[in-house]
Symmetry: C2
Subunit: 128 residues, 2 copies
DNA sequence: CGGTATCCGCCATGATACTG
DNA sequence: CAGTATCATGGCGGATACCG
């Protein structure tokens, strides 16, 4: 087997996309402290649609990172919890979230500088 | 400022999307060992289109993670290199790539099991 | 409560052609 | 070599309605 994200055929590239994808990193992060109900997750992940939350959770369940447990009470109650495999990816993801939170102001400044220097049509014939 | 990826308005969420996005993780990873030319990157990141490579590099440059240096030789030569900010994110990204490479077979098995258990219309009236 | 089903717009991405 | 420009498209993701 290939086991190399730089190889075109290696399926692990798809896996990298998956765990790094927008909502996955947030869902997993929110499950770090323990099981959560569907509605709890929806409330805490501001801006996620019901559809995307369902879809994200299904993918995570299918991939073995999360378990889904139904308690047939009335009203229905469903809890999601990280598996051991799921817990094994929390650290790298937490590091990434933390990096984003620590550095977004620096990045915002870099953007300003960059955009000021290149107002699209300025400096005629600047090679690019 | 908010500094919380779980908040809808916090711009750091967009930054998380950026560094976690498909090609970004691979480009940054390949720049870990030192500067690279455009064509080198293109060769090493199997399957990336010229357009996506350019776009990814532009974004990284604009966000201050990468520098772009033009050597006006003939033929033209352009080198990309990580900035200090860029280097600060290599570790979490490497951890994520490594996780994907270590675990994709486990995940593949989990998928098989899951798909076998739920052939869409089986087990009539299984609550879901 | 915790979903599924359907419709649909829009943008990310790829393919192709051309340029300095 | 290292791009830019343009066009085509597929699927991501939101909105809405309905179900057990």
């Amino acid at each position: 087997m290939i086991r190399n994200v730089y190889s075109k055929e290696c399926p692990c590239r798809g896996l990298l996309d998956m765990v790094a994808s927008r909502w996955t990193a947030l869902v997993i992060g929110d499950l770090e402290d323990g099981p959560r109900r569907f509605s709890e997750l929806k409330k805490r992940l501001e801006g996620i649609s019901q559809k995307m939350l369902t879809q994200t959770l299904r993918t995570l369940e299918r991939d073995g990172l999360v378990t889904r447990t139904v308690y047939p009470s009335v009203p229905l109650r469903v809890e999601y919890e990280l598996t051991e495999l799921g817990r094994s990816v929390t650290e790298p993801l937490a590091a990434l979230r933390s990096w984003a939170q620590r550095n977004y102001e620096t990045v915002a400044e870099a953007r300003e500088t960059f955009d000021k220097a290149e107002p699209v049509g300025a400096e005629p014939a600047t090679a690019r």
